[in-house]
Amino acid sequence: MAELIDLVLLAMLALTALRIIFLKDLFAVVMLFGIYSFLSALIFINLDAVDVAFTEASVGAGISTVLMLGTLALTGRKEKKNSHSSLLPLLVVTVTGAALIYGTLDMPPFGDPDNPVHQHVAPRYIEESPQEIGLPNMVTSVLASYRAFDTLGEVVVVFAAAIGVLALLGIRRKKDSDLESGLKEHKVLHVIAKIVIPHVILFALYVQFHGDFGPGGGFQAGVIAAAAFILYALVFGLPNTLAVASPKFLQWMASFGVLLYAGVGLVSMIKGGQFLDYNKLAADPIAGQHYGIIIIELGVGITVFAVMLSIFYAFSSQAERSNVQ
């Protein structure tokens, strides 16, 4: 049964990808990409990767669609006619695809418990992490404790991306505060947004602190909280949002999150352990692990929130008056 669902979803995914290739209207392409992300999130759920599905639905479908739409507002929504012949790309793609298909024949069968990938470190994570870390969600244990150094690197990459975007675009503050988003007349949207936004932020906090026990964690929570602010900016206009969370404040927050994460590592070194060795944070190793994971997830959440919102500010403040809908 699960295979059947998988097949249907994969077929829909393939059709969406084909449609993206042939459409010239970029607005539709970006919307289809949002659908593509949601479909792949469903497939991830079907393949037992609930944390990944959560991230893909909030980050892939939510934030990247918004950013692409922001870019389209500046660059125009039609793709021009291509002067090159499409024969050569087709040939290259066919040859590469055939080689890869040939390569997959050497792969171990899909879903077999005896595959090499399930033999090396995975059994240790599955069998011992509930005792060693004391958390039911193994993905959080591996992400925040066993591979904490790797995750620190990822957070720094996200931080560096924010620096890159701000260096390239910068956030332009508009002098005239009467810059209208044509949504002023949407009274219904205003009321509903005011109802929904607090709940979204509450949900983000739930995801942040419940990530130890179920799907969720800092990455997803940061993006969801940023989405609440983005909704506010879309409905009530960017100047109002800048007044709530100023770009300067966000830059401080982004660096604070990274420093908080690295600070946990330093504290554990001061206490006589290795970098990011949470066992030393408290007298009881398992309690130490819990402290460490909660604090670094908080650091991740703060950084991701601040970075995503800064990037959104950078894109939406570029939009010229005529382009603001």
Binding site: A28, G182, H186, L189
Partner: protein
Amino acid sequence: MFILDIVSSILLIAGVFFGFSGAVGLFKFPDFFTRVHAASVTDSIAAILVISGLLLQTSFDLNTAKLVFILLFLMITSPTASHALAKSARHGGLLTLAEAKTENKGADDKQEQAH
């Protein structure tokens, strides 16, 4: 328990029927506003029926509470989304089928948004 299962399957099947009719409407209806109408059927009644059907399948624990929250949010957000879509189409000058036939191309673009 047996009766609950029957009620839940009836709700689920009804939900699937409405979802399907919404999808058919999305393809068959002639212009943007009628299509939004069809799409919002999927959003509202189909989702409500499917989630109510699922509610009866849970054993009234945390999952029930989560499903109820999802139901509440869907009942708030999906009519709002349809409303915002139709209103901005109107605001952007899109005419209904009766008003103009030349605007059909714009409706096609908006239809992607309705997904």
